[in-house]
Symmetry: C2
Subunit: 400 residues, 2 copies
Amino acid sequence: MKEINLDYAAATPVDEKVLEAMLPFFTEHYGNPSSGHNLGEKPRQALEEARAEVGRLIGIEEPGKNKIIFTASASEANNLAIKGIVTAGKRRGNRIITSAIEHFSILNQLRSLEKEGYEIVKLPVDESGLVSPGQLKEALNDQTILVSIQVANTEIGTIQPIKELVAIATEQEIPFHSDATAAAGWIPLNVEALGVDMLTLAGDQLYGPKGAGALFVKRGIRLRPLIEGGIQEQGLRAGTENVPAIVGFGEAARLAYTHLQKRSEQVASFRDKLKESLFKEIPHLHLNGHPEKRLPWNLNISVEFVEGEALLMRLNMEGIYVSSGSSCTSQALKSSHVLDAIGSPPELAQGSLLLAAGLKSREEDIPGITEKMSEVASLLRKMSPLYHQYLKEAQNNANV
Amino acid sequence: MKEINLDYAAATPVDEKVLEAMLPFFTEHYGNPSSGHNLGEKPRQALEEARAEVGRLIGIEEPGKNKIIFTASASEANNLAIKGIVTAGKRRGNRIITSAIEHFSILNQLRSLEKEGYEIVKLPVDESGLVSPGQLKEALNDQTILVSIQVANTEIGTIQPIKELVAIATEQEIPFHSDATAAAGWIPLNVEALGVDMLTLAGDQLYGPKGAGALFVKRGIRLRPLIEGGIQEQGLRAGTENVPAIVGFGEAARLAYTHLQKRSEQVASFRDKLKESLFKEIPHLHLNGHPEKRLPWNLNISVEFVEGEALLMRLNMEGIYVSSGSSCTSQALKSSHVLDAIGSPPELAQGSLLLAAGLKSREEDIPGITEKMSEVASLLRKMSPLYHQYLKEAQNNANV
């Protein structure tokens, strides 16, 4: 059976060049970067080269301005950013502003902080997933210690007006963190131009290995480490550095930076053709997220009268792999908080599918994907009592 | 120039079999274990197999009793254990007991907790590095919420009477965490027989890859996650699992378990012969740590009249790689807190060297190592004013 992956948001394979760059650091240059002798040298250099490459991907050319802290994941970077600034205790106040459609590694820690007495303000988004700059401005007060709003949403792909949002917070000297996990490598990012104080990234979203994330921290921002111990990563993240994974992240960042435009155009072209084909052949489809301001690889649709989880399972049997939203919660079988936030009615939110294109997505597969999705959707639709009710009403209306 | 690594405590190369086990998970089985479709299946299975292997290494045969939480490092596991239990807030009290010779990922977070108002009791150790069970008993009171004492010390190799120590805490229903990073794979460990509530491990200490640590947590122990977000690792550690590294850790644990006795005997034999040779040829040597109760790979010596850092640098130029203590602090150029704790006088503590044998250490290299160390020690000794003072006094005493 031919297998087609349309879930590259959950995981990307490691690029062959990336793996090649990593390999020597498992067996040959296996030293500890903290070692004072020769065996530490090559790993130490490689770490700094990777740091420079990851920096370049987010617009940092000057090494002096590069304060990239390597972590094991975007989730860890998000926790370091928020808990780090909160527990550093340098700022007075207890209000933290975020958006309703952040990743769970933001929202769940904020829920914990709320229990500890922090005031968490979740800004709503409009029906396309956009945060309103005006609402951010209104939410800020002199108790506000942090704003955390993502660059773009992994589920519905909506890209926020980050530069504008940052300017509002910065005017009041409130630090701004942004989760760029879904965006980095796919849209141009420049931390200086955006003005963000902290930015989260992950290697496994851009054909790098799992196990390497990063937090950019602007000079002057004080954090308390999440993992305390040794003085690795400028004292902000203890533990032996995962050299091979970081080297892989660096190489993946280099490739992503070099081929950014080409890659984006490639996945957007596939995505647009797939969208066109699906909307032409399958009735009762709805697009979720912003029609233009969206990540090039992202297509999120709701299939009316059809439950997303059932669709996912049937497509899985046909060798087509899609997701019903964030992979971090797919085992939890909850409806998506992102679709709830954009005001998607429950029956559509339940039927949402994230189709995430990747570098190996092939346009020649689109007719096959469309045919199978159409078949499965049609089958499931016929099993839906709501659909039969809809047909009956349509019939009645026609008869009137 | 022939290179000889005597610093396997800082890093071990990844075993060829381990790397082989990992490779398919970078490019072929690259899926996200949380995915509901087929691409998540193989990674998910592999995670559970690795969990079983790591469990087996610490004596867990029944899957139901296996609550292994994978982390990115031993430092993270240590932080999860201590901060996790403290912030879960299930226990009343503010006293935490530890030893003076723990790893910095224990001591530095306890220093932070001390600033927050916790009472931290650092038990002293005797001149061989042993904690006294009697002193632990005296230190416990009804305010004690946790004891954290390592299985064995990475710097001086001393193995604690953990079973006895655990029994004392358990009698008073106080949870016991133990850092087994330096010990796992080198001495038999059985969490049930030991009675510990939490145990820290790391893959890169046993020929597994960097980037994979683990915390064993006994059923009934409640922790708050350090990294909040998705529901991975039983809700105790959010973020996409580093599947290749965890698979590597599992294979390394399997190999370590299978060959434990042979490996231990092999490194102990090398270590003992090296020790004999060095003590025969080099004057003014002192052994640090317990003469028998010590890890099989560990040799820690002080060279009187000679500064360890200078010795390390000279040996490095000769292609012999040793460390002056913990690699997490080697860049900090501080004297070792472990040697201070065993009452080593500053002039000896400054001259301490950790010689950590590994599976590739060869007995035929011992004469060469001895010769070079003897030469370098002799050269440095002659540059020491203290040595000349010592010679003069010896001369005077002889003349009397």
